[in-house]
Amino acid sequence: MSIVLDKPDTAGGERGPELSSLGLTMYRFSAWLKSPRPYLMLIGFAIVLGFWYLAVEVLQLPRFESMPGLTEVFREWFSKDPIYGLSIYTPEYYTHIGISLRRIAYAFLLATVLGVPLGLFLGWSKTFREFVFPLFEVLRPIPILAWVPLAIIMFSGSESPVIFLTFLASFFATTLNTMLGVESIDESYSRAASCLGASRWQVFKHVVIPGAMPYIFTGLQISIGVAWFSLVAGEMVSGQFGLGYLINTSYMMIEYPKIIIGMITLGIVGFATSAMVRAAGDYMMQWRVRELALVD
């Protein structure tokens, strides 16, 4: 349970036939079912949902009574004929999700494509870092949301300001973590490579990039989180469509259950996207997955 500090000590030849990843997953799942964890988890959910139901709809506690109730929200969400016009059966619901996702995709991909190389060079070349990093550090403390009006002024339309904000948040996280990743690489790796005859460029390709990879993916994980954070804010302040916009307009139109539907949807979509980033990281860093699997 606690972090294992020691390196695993298994002789490679003796590992026997590889556990298939499906087999491993099944094994873990059945172990999980036998542990008390799933049941405690259900208790936790029951407490929260039960409290929500009781406080709002049954006991009608002060302040809670004005909130949308549990059954009200779920009835709306799964209704074929929703009162406020939004449920899993209405195309409008998917339009909001799709537009938010599209904005995230543009911003996140752009931030990755620009931020990772920039971070790699910042970490790799001291000269480059000494010139560029201070500027970076001066701009970084300005909260992303403080850029909203300036973004609206600089970019015409309602779409590009929102994407710009989302991009900016991701970009800082990605670049910074990539740079830290390069700095974290043990010097002996690049020394070993140059001993073995690697040129500076080969060191970059074979040591710097793969060595920084774990940090890069930590950065991308953070990046996707702050992207959603900024996107929602951007969509609430300006912009058309999207889940943040849905939440904000539902508030204005006093269609309260839709607020909660929007929030839950955001949680699900946000979780799914960061799971995708993690899966991509695992795919690209087999060596880490296999190391960690031994530690488990």
Partner: protein, 273 residues
């Protein structure tokens, strides 16, 4: 630190390069913003932004303005309130989750499910629930820092070297002693890190909440720096937008720096390189 090293650091190549880059940035910004005036065509993006000299003039004018400082004060108050609440609730909660397995099992999955919902998505619900705008901003601010602090405290407390605990047990320490003398100090570095990150998020959230909710309802100077930016935008005084951005940057930077210094004082053993 020795005097000599400080001075030589001040004029080191690295510092000069940094200053050069920032100066270059400001020059490009000025030229871009005045491109229409100077070169007869408008540079994309930068051509629409107020030039730094105008910003400086506008800022100088604001320095004597009580309303501007009132905005600072209001934002600081909100950040401080939300942050303090997040610390007071988040730290004990994180520690308790680390020591009590049952509580961890019950609460952590719920916590993890709520976490991906961005704090700002809570703004409308929060406004509906809380009787005043001020309280709803405070709640969203609290939420922003809360998740980060809990995660860091929990992670820190769970990664304590087991041998520390065994050593203490073998010396006859009671459960409470172990908690107070080992778990707490061993978690302190993570608490400091979590707080510093949480502080950054708090500023993000306060600015956004001030913009979205129109400055706590009452508007005007009690709206805080976020509202200051927004009303400058609505009022068309673009220089003030940039003044507001820089002000928030400075405020956020110093809040984190103070926190980091305090953290350094609390964890003196980390200083030995």
């Amino acid at each position: 630190m020795k005097q000599g090293t400080f001075v030589s650091k001040l004029f080191s190549r690295a510092t000069l390069r940094g200053i050069f880059a920032i100066a270059l940035f400001i020059v490009i910004w000025e030229a871009g913003a005045r491109s229409e005036q100077w070169f007869g065509f408008r540079m994309p993006f930068l051509g629409l932004v107020p030039p730094p000299t105008d910003v400086a003039v506008s800022w100088a004018g604001l320095l004597g303005d009580a309303g501007y400082w009132q905005s600072w004060y209001m934002s600081f108050l909100r950040v401080f309130g939300g942050f303090l609440a997040a610390m007071l609730i988040g730290i004990p909660l994180g520690l308790f989750m680390a020591v009590n397995k049952t509580f961890y099992g019950i609460y952590f999955p719920t916590f993890e499910i709520m976490r991906p919902i961005p704090p700002l998505a809570w703004v409308p619900a929060s406004i509906i629930f809380w009787p005043t705008q001020e309280l709803s901003i405070a709640f969203v601010t609290f939420l922003g820092a809360f998740y980060t602090i809990v995660i860091n405290v929990l992670g820190g407390a769970r990664s304590i070297n087991k041998q520390f605990l065994q050593a203490a047990q073998s010396m006859g320490a009671s459960q409470w002693d172990i908690f107070r003398r080992i778990v707490l100090p061993a978690t302190l570095p993570s608490i400091v890190v979590g707080s510093a990150v949480g502080m950054g998020i708090t500023w993000e959230v306060v600015v956004a909440a001030e913009m979205i909710s129109g400055g706590g309802g009452s508007g005007g100077a009690s709206g805080g720096l976020g509202f200051f930016i927004w009303s400058s935008y609505v009022g068309g005084s673009y220089e003030q937008i940039v003044v507001g951005m820089i002000s928030i940057g400075i405020a956020g930077y110093f809040s984190s720096e103070i926190l980091r210094q305090l953290g350094g004082l609390l964890t003196p053993w980390l200083k030995t390189r």
